[in-house]
């Protein structure tokens, strides 16, 4: 009896490619750069690369980009995209204390999303970001509640 093994692994491969890429397009602090270089030295060892990747995922997902001041800051989100970016941009822009907010995905092959927030003096960019996240959460709560209500009403009316 012959034994064939078909292993389907569609994941991870792409991500480890990114990790090996040199010269990241967005800001990398010096210490992270040196980690990348170490990775390159033993780039032949695939398992090592995957471990690095996992550690990064568990770690920090938001970071402040260099050049930020309290009222004008750029944030980098790991593993986020348009799904969070655009909704967050919208909700932060609705904060009257915010002068400017925009988001961008600097490069499509890097799972990074940048948000720029500039506030008036009465608040800080970090506070505006946190308020934006909470406001969006509240909006989600309301929509979820409204959907469940509407679904129940629909079920009552149709029965």
């Amino acid at each position: 009896m012959s034994r064939a093994r078909s292993k389907k692994e569609e994941s991870a491969e792409i991500e480890s490619d990114i990790a090996m890429e040199e010269a990241p397009t967005s800001h990398q602090p010096e210490d992270e750069m040196s980690v990348d270089q170490n990775e390159d030295e033993d780039a032949g060892d695939v398992e090592d690369d995957e471990d690095e990747e996992e550690e990064e995922e568990e770690g920090q997902r938001v970071r402040l980009l260099p050049g930020s001041t309290p009222t004008a800051a750029s944030f980098e989100f790991l593993n986020e995209g348009h799904t969070l970016g655009n909704a967050l941009r919208y909700i932060i822009m609705r904060n009257p204390d915010v002068e400017f907010c925009a988001y961008a995905i600097p490069h499509p092959s890097e799972a990074k999303m940048n948000v720029r927030i500039q506030t008036f003096e009465c608040t800080t960019a970090i506070q505006a970001l946190e308020k934006g996240l909470r406001d969006l959460q509240e909006l989600c709560d309301v929509v979820s509640e409204k959907f469940i209500d509407a679904r129940q009403k629909f079920a009552e009316n149709s029965s």
Binding site: R3, P66, S68, T69, Q118, Q127, Q137, L139, D149, A150
Partner: protein, 337 residues
């Protein structure tokens, strides 16, 4: 409801409104109004790509004398919708302590069929049998939504041919592979009369006669003859049509979608609160009091992006090495469907 962080007009004071026009076991059609397109699109995207479900991820083929290649069959198996009820109590393979797979992070299914008659035999998803321990009694069972209860056709066997294999189904999301998508399709529509001119309709001679009206055209006021274009108008009513692939009910897809969004937000809020921004390695550490900066480098009223102390403006700093400066700013958003 009391969502009014920054109410701008009376209509918005009501907050978002959901109206359901059709709901059954296959689809739910609803209208979300008094919401922004950014939020509506986030909801659509999250329902499409980020709701965890379960799908076959690993196939061990013991016997395959059919005409189809092993990997071809493995791919077809991956695409079979499996019941994802209770998938939240299943662990992701990467989070499990086991080596490979176990009952906490996977569901095992077996398929064994041999054509013993003298006519071709059809092997259906129904023939995939879940075995071993499971989180609950339905998780991982193939979805059989056709009238005969057969499910999708996997392959056909000629007399004498045999297929014997074992599958490991794992938890995942459609962002990684489309086989984990809970929705067969999500309809998303707004502005049925194209008053906002977000669409540029192709036509031979007259777009009005050549393009059939949307099913929601009657829900909204058609444009008046000679009505001037409203430059300030923004889309406000969004028509969703969530069609389930059978693994989760359409209602569950909507609620789970919102839940996934909330988990995303909760994680980020937690991180911000936890670290207080202290580990954010930027030019300054952690949040400062609102008074910060009003002293030495104080600018009256507000700070412009150029009011940045030091040798680079925040724009200049960002523009130097990030694509903010090197690609058109809108590049990220232009791929936004």
């Amino acid at each position: 409801m009391d969502y009014d962080p920054m109410v701008m007009d009376d209509a918005e004071a009501l907050g978002p409104v959901v109206k359901i026009s059709q709901a059954d076991s296959v689809r739910v059609k609803y209208e979300l109004s008094n919401a922004d397109i950014a939020f509506a699109n986030s909801l659509r995207r999250v329902m499409l790509a980020e709701i965890p479900t379960i799908a076959i991820d690993l196939v061990e083929i013991e016997e395959n004398s059919s005409v189809l290649a092993d990997e071809f069959i493995a791919h077809r198996l991956g695409l079979i919708p499996l019941n994802a009820e209770g998938v939240e109590s299943l662990l992701y393979g990467r989070d499990c302590d086991c080596d490979g797979f176990c009952e906490h992070c996977s569901v095992r299914l077996t398929l064994h069929a041999k054509c013993t008659g003298d006519e071709n035999m059809h092997v259906f998803a129904r023939d995939l049998v879940p075995t071993g321990e499971r989180v609950n009694q339905v998780l991982g069972t193939p979805v059989l939504s056709d009238a005969e209860g057969l499910g999708p056709l996997i392959l056909k066997l000629r007399p004498g041919q045999e297929i014997k294999l074992e599958c490991i189904a794992r938890k995942g999301i459609a962002k990684e592979h489309a086989k984990w998508a809970p929705s067969a399709a999500i309809g998303f529509e707004y502005d049925p009369h194209n008053k906002l001119h977000h669409l540029d309709l192709w036509y031979e001679s007259d777009p009005k006669t050549e393009w059939p009206p949307s099913e929601y055209a009657a829900w909204e006021e058609p444009p008046q003859e000679g009505e001037p274009f409203d430059y300030d108008a923004v889309p406000n009513r969004f028509y969703f049509n969530v069609e389930s692939a059978g693994n989760l009910s359409p209602d569950t897809i909507v609620s789970e979608g919102i839940k996934v969004l909330q988990q995303k937000l909760a994680g980020l809020i937690h991180e911000l609160a936890d670290e207080g921004g202290n580990s954010m390695n930027g030019d300054y550490n952690g949040p400062r009091s609102p008074e910060y900066g009003t002293g030495a480098d104080g600018f009256g009223g507000y700070t412009t992006p150029f009011g940045n102390a030091g040798n680079q403006s925040s724009w200049g700093g960002a523009g130097g090495t990030t694509p903010y400066g090197t690609t058109p700013y809108g590049a990220g958003q232009s791929s936004w469907p």
